[in-house]
């Protein structure tokens, strides 16, 4: 790791520890992630971390981007989810499939935090079966007209642009849509169990006119290329986000168990507490090693990297759920109380088992991968 990257990650830790972690509960309570903090994340180069330097980015490789994601995600899931949607989902799609004019138009401002983007795929009636989207586009001279609705779109409540996936019945395309365009109506979704400060919203598109040049990628490549690429990068980001929750929960239970006394003894001395800590340590260490391997496969553009990323996302979301559950258990009654971060980590962990592919749909893909990969190996 170069000295520049090392310094960058050190500054990210400092930033997370002073500007994000102490306020995580407040963000959730107010259901707002401060605009000023987003700007500061841009200035600190987190939002363009994977973009090349010519687009004001840091050009981080997959491993170091993973470390950054973990650092931010340990402090606060909302801040991490901004990286996931803005940098990983939308940023990676533009970087991979946008033309030079599009990259120059959006990436530098995205890196600086001057514009915020969100990825608009999911619809009220279309979740896992993403290829069945109903939001439509109709061609009209130099524009397309978009109609339909999207739901559960993270950070769309404050987004300047949405990468909208739409179909004309035969083809699927992805368009960058300025949220100020007439016909775009964004309605915040309240009452969520977690991700309360992530500006998750429902969006209506009513005859929204979008310039044709805002289409990202080839005509008809919206699902095969844009969605696949975006979700692949999204899953990689979530994988590190899961590790972040698991690590934060482990640290919380270690610290609590070394301070809390019951029956005249520190609770870490009880073997059933030790079991939970031992399992968490073992799961985190092995998953971290696996994530390092996945980062290396992604760096090589290895043909297994997509499937291995899916495994990583599946695994880390599982251990995040298990370890945050155990962390609540170790905290006893205090684990239910929002003055203790484990209460929030527990709720945030559950989200990761649903977004960017539910655990169940990922298991389908993983089992198929295994059934192919390990068939007749020694025959």
């Amino acid at each position: 790791m170069s000295e520049v990257i090392q310094d960058f990650l050190e500054s990210a830790k400092e930033f997370a520890n002073t500007k994000i972690r102490p306020f995580a509960a407040e963000f959730e309570e107010k259901q707002q992630f401060p605009a000023q903090l987003i700007k500061e994340m841009g200035k600190a180069k987190f939002l363009g971390a994977t973009f090349p330097e010519k687009y004001n980015g840091m050009n981080l490789d997959p491993y170091n981007y993973g470390l950054l994601t973990e650092i931010i995600g340990k402090a606060d899931c909302t801040a991490r989810s901004l990286l996931t949607v803005h940098t990983s989902l939308v940023g990676s799609a533009i970087l991979r499939w946008g033309n030079e004019a599009q990259k120059n138009k959006w990436l530098p401002d995205m890196a600086e935090g001057n514009i915020i983007t969100a990825f608009a795929l999911t619809e009220p009636n279309v979740g896992t079966d993403a290829s069945s989207i109903q939001t439509s586009y109709e061609e009209k001279e130099n524009a397309v007209i978009i109609n339909g609705s999207k739901k559960w779109i993270t950070f769309s409540g404050v987004a300047d642009y949405l990468l909208v996936i739409a179909t004309n019945g035969k083809k699927v395309n992805a368009y960058m849509v300025d949220t100020k365009t007439p016909g775009v109506t964004i309605k915040p979704i309240k009452g969520l169990m977690a991700a309360k400060a992530s500006y998750i919203s429902e969006i209506e598109f009513t005859n929204v006119e979008v310039p044709k040049e805002n289409r990202i990628g080839v005509d008809g490549g919206g699902f095969a290329y844009i969605v696949s690429t975006a979700l692949d990068h999204g899953r990689y980001s979530i994988a590190w986000g899961g590790l972040a929750i698991a690590q934060e929960a482990l640290e919380a239970m270690v610290n609590y168990s070394r301070e809390r006394k019951q029956f005249g003894k520190k609770i870490y001395t009880f073997q059933l507490i030790q079991e939970m800590i031992a399992n968490a340590v073992a799961n985190i260490h092995s998953t971290r090693a696996f994530l390092e391997k996945v980062a290396s496969l992604r760096q090589q553009n290895h043909q297994d990297s997509v499937n291995e990323t899916i495994i990583a996302k599946y695994l880390t979301s599982k251990i995040a759920m298990q370890i945050s559950t155990d962390a609540v258990q170790v905290h006893g009654g205090n684990g239910f109380y929002n003055k203790y971060p484990v209460e929030r980590l527990f709720r945030e962990a559950k989200v990761l088992e649903v977004i960017e592919g539910t655990s169940q749909v990922l298991q389908n893909i993983i089992s198929l991968y295994g059934l192919k990969k390990y068939y007749k190996i020694n025959c």
Partner: protein, 83 residues
């Protein structure tokens, strides 16, 4: 080259039937041989394995729809590179 392409497709088949045969002109999408992740994986594979970049103009799904068409695309791109 053709063997590598067939092996890659075979490694990504969603059908586990041992008897399945991928013919050179089979449309692998229409036959339901692969899932939605395949196009992106195939593109990454081609670009890495054959050290080439597929331009937007060549990104049509039809260029990746069969073993013969994939081979033709790779040949076209690598010939351009060697010219």
């Amino acid at each position: 080259m053709k063997e590598k392409i067939v092996k890659f497709i075979s490694d990504n088949l969603i059908n586990l039937d041992d008897e399945i045969e991928i013919k050179d002109d089979d449309n692998i999408f229409e036959k339901g041989f692969v899932n939605s992740l395949f196009s992106m994986k195939l593109l990454n594979y081609i670009e890495t394995e054959f050290n080439m970049e597929v331009d937007d103009d060549d990104m049509e799904i039809s260029n990746f729809s069969s073993v013969n068409r994939i081979e033709a695309l790779i040949k076209k791109k690598t010939e351009v590179l060697s010219d």
